[in-house]
């Protein structure tokens, strides 16, 4: 669903600032939402995701330029027009004290549609979400998942140009989340609306996003296609957020053969991914680190970095185990399955060899605090 860069954005923001009590809460230098795009705003709690979403939706007064279909949204009337051409779903469903059908019809009624026509459209939206059987129920008789589906049906019923979703799945259990994601992706695949989806869940962002923007301190620090952005985080905060447990500080050096090496502060050198020469922090995804009971034969593998060491700690991470390996002068983390750990007979203190490809080591230049664009995200947002 990724749009071509030539498509005019449905929604665009330039230098958008939300200031409260003299303090700037968020500052969006540039944002553009293409038709049919699902753009995820990803970040930790307090990063300003929801505030940006509300500023984009006209719910939060903001300085700067906000454009909807090319027209500047400045006046209160323009903000109301924006809200009537869009729809929003929040973490909690916030249903009105009416039955499900009338709840779903409420947005249409506010737009002046007659009662019967609104109810008919509401039923169609309920069918789209597979909950037509709930039409006569009261909000108090719904489960959390059902109530959120009703809230989403209410938003879809108005046929919005842009759908704003503010952590819509955060309060739901995993099976309900999965089922709702599948349904939403089916609906988004029609390309009838653009979506701004706020989440702090990186897996959710990866699953639904055509593009993802990572937020730090109220600013977008990186935008791009999820697969690129997640592989090449622009800041250590983003790398930490993605769960990259190993950080190596040093200086990038280029060899005569064009290969890139990172000379660590401890003096050791490791092969790493491509980067400009100079000071850098490199992160190493733990899932890219492979463990061997003994050193692999050099020509039998493409793993350029081989570090003998010993198991320092073993920590469960969901169904996997995070193994901290203390090598001679540094520590790296590896993520392994419990079956693999059993095969290797892993125990704290036992000798082990950690190995990883040069491409797995992603260097981030140390002047990291200025906003950065991923290589794939420069043109759009």
């Amino acid at each position: 669903m990724s749009p071509s860069p030539s498509e005019a954005p449905v929604l665009a923001a330039r230098d958008l600032r939300v200031v409260r009590g003299g303090r700037s809460l968020v500052h969006v230098e540039h944002f553009a939402l293409a038709p049919g795009d699902v753009h995820v705003l990803l970040g930790a709690n307090g990063a300003g995701k929801s505030t940006i979403l509300k500023a984009l939706n006209g719910l939060e007064p903001a300085d700067g330029v906000l454009e909807f279909h090319g027209s500047v949204v400045g006046s209160a009337a323009a903000r109301l027009a924006l809200r009537r051409a869009t729809a929003a779903v929040f973490q909690r469903p916030y249903l009105l004290a009416a039955n499900v059908r009338d709840n779903v019809a409420s947005g249409l009624r506010l737009r002046g549609l007659g009662r019967n026509a609104a109810r008919q459209r509401a039923l169609e939206a309920l069918r789209l979400l597979g909950i037509a059987q709930l039409a006569g129920r009261k909000p108090g008789n719904l489960s959390g998942g059902e109530a959120q589906r009703v809230s989403i049906a209410r938003a879809l019923a108005v046929d919005p140009d842009v759908l704003f979703l503010d952590e819509p799945l955060a309060a739901l259990d995993p099976p309900t989340r999965r089922a709702l994601i599948i349904d939403l992706l089916r609906i988004f695949a029609r390309g009838e609306m653009a979506v701004v989806w706020v989440t702090h869940d990186r897996d959710e962002a990866f699953a639904v996003g055509d593009r993802v923007s990572f937020l730090e301190g109220g600013r977008i620090v990186q935008t791009g296609v999820p697969v690129d952005v997640f592989a090449h985080p622009a800041t250590t905060a983003f790398a930490e957020f993605l769960g990259l447990d190993t950080y190596l500080e040093g200086v990038i050096l280029r060899g005569m053969d064009g290969s890139t090496r990172l000379r660590l502060d401890c003096g050791m050198e490791i092969a790493c991914g491509d980067a400009p020469e100079g000071p850098a922090v490199a992160c190493l995804p733990p899932e890219d680190v492979v463990l061997f009971a003994s050193a692999p034969i050099e020509h039998s593998t493409s793993l350029r970095n081989v570090l003998p060491g010993m198991v320092n700690t073993i920590s469960p991470v969901g169904r996997l185990l995070l193994i901290a390996v203390a090598a001679e002068r540094l520590e790296v983390a590896a993520l392994v399955t419990r079956a693999a750990a059993d095969d290797l007979g892993l125990a704290v203190g036992m000798p082990i060899v950690a190995a990883f490809k040069a491409a797995a080591v992603h260097p981030i230049p140390r002047q990291e605090r200025r906003p950065a664009m991923s290589s794939s995200g420069g043109g759009q947002s």
Partner: protein, 233 residues
């Protein structure tokens, strides 16, 4: 004991014997309190909403004044209204002192803070997220206001009941500004006071029974509507 028994018998005779004076007093009471209630609700709910839904400097002071007004003694309200309406007062030119209009004004002043305070409290108890959701649904300011009132309709009916109870049972202010003039400004509470003072307990009991019946009937109707509303939620 005999006095009470005789009073009850006389009361029933007055009630079901078609005593014109008693019915006139009862109707006047309903008219004065009903009209005052309508004015108080029409003005008090929007005013309470403005305070509840907006942030402005001095808001806390305004809320404190409203809450104090809810507990204002009716005789003090009567005194203030009388001072304004007396011939030399700021509103003396309207010449409404010792008329039923003066009694309506006094009861509006008594009911207004109750309606404002209780509707304000009901709106403040709503989740701010619901207000945001209503705005995000595309509601204009007027539509948001109507939807929010619909959300607190059960609490609003309780507000109306409380205000009605306060004005229909009030005696001090209506006597001070109405004068308790028989056939002109006398309402049930004033008449009960007068009949008790002159020792006509049977009439006083009859009037008290009518007053209680009116209060019960009005609250029964409002409670019925309120519970219907709850069932629909």
């Amino acid at each position: 004991m005999q006095i009470i028994w005789n009073g009850l018998v006389e009361a029933l005779r007055l009630l079901f014997g078609g005593d014109a004076d008693v019915y006139q007093i009862a109707l006047r009471t309903l008219w004065v309190s009903g009209l005052a209630l309508c004015f108080a609700v029409a003005a008090g709910v929007p005013m309470g909403s403005v305070v509840a839904l907006n942030h402005f400097r001095g808001r806390r002071l305004v809320v404190t004044i409203i809450n104090t007004g809810m507990a204002a003694p009716p005789v003090v309200v009567g005194l203030l209204v009388a001072l304004f309406l007396t011939r030399n007062g700021p509103l003396g030119s309207f010449r409404v002192l010792y008329t039923t209009w003066a009694m309506v004004i006094a009861q509006v002043v008594i009911a207004l803070p109750i309606v404002m305070g209780l509707s304000l409290a009901a709106l403040q108890q709503l989740d701010p997220g619901l207000r945001q959701q209503i705005v995000a649904l595309g509601a204009s300011r007027r539509q948001s206001f109507i939807l929010l009132l619909r959300e607190i309709r059960v609490a609003l009916l309780a507000t109306v009941m409380a205000a009605f109870g306060a004005v229909i049972s009030e005696v001090g202010a209506v006597i001070m500004v109405g004068g308790n003039i028989k056939g002109q400004t006398q309402v049930l509470t004033g008449a009960i006071v007068q009949e008790t003072r002159i020792g006509r307990f049977s009439v006083a009991i009859a009037l008290a029974l009518i007053l209680m019946t009116l209060a019960f009937g009005a609250n029964l109707a409002l409670t019925f509507i309120q519970q219907q509303g709850r069932r629909q939620e």
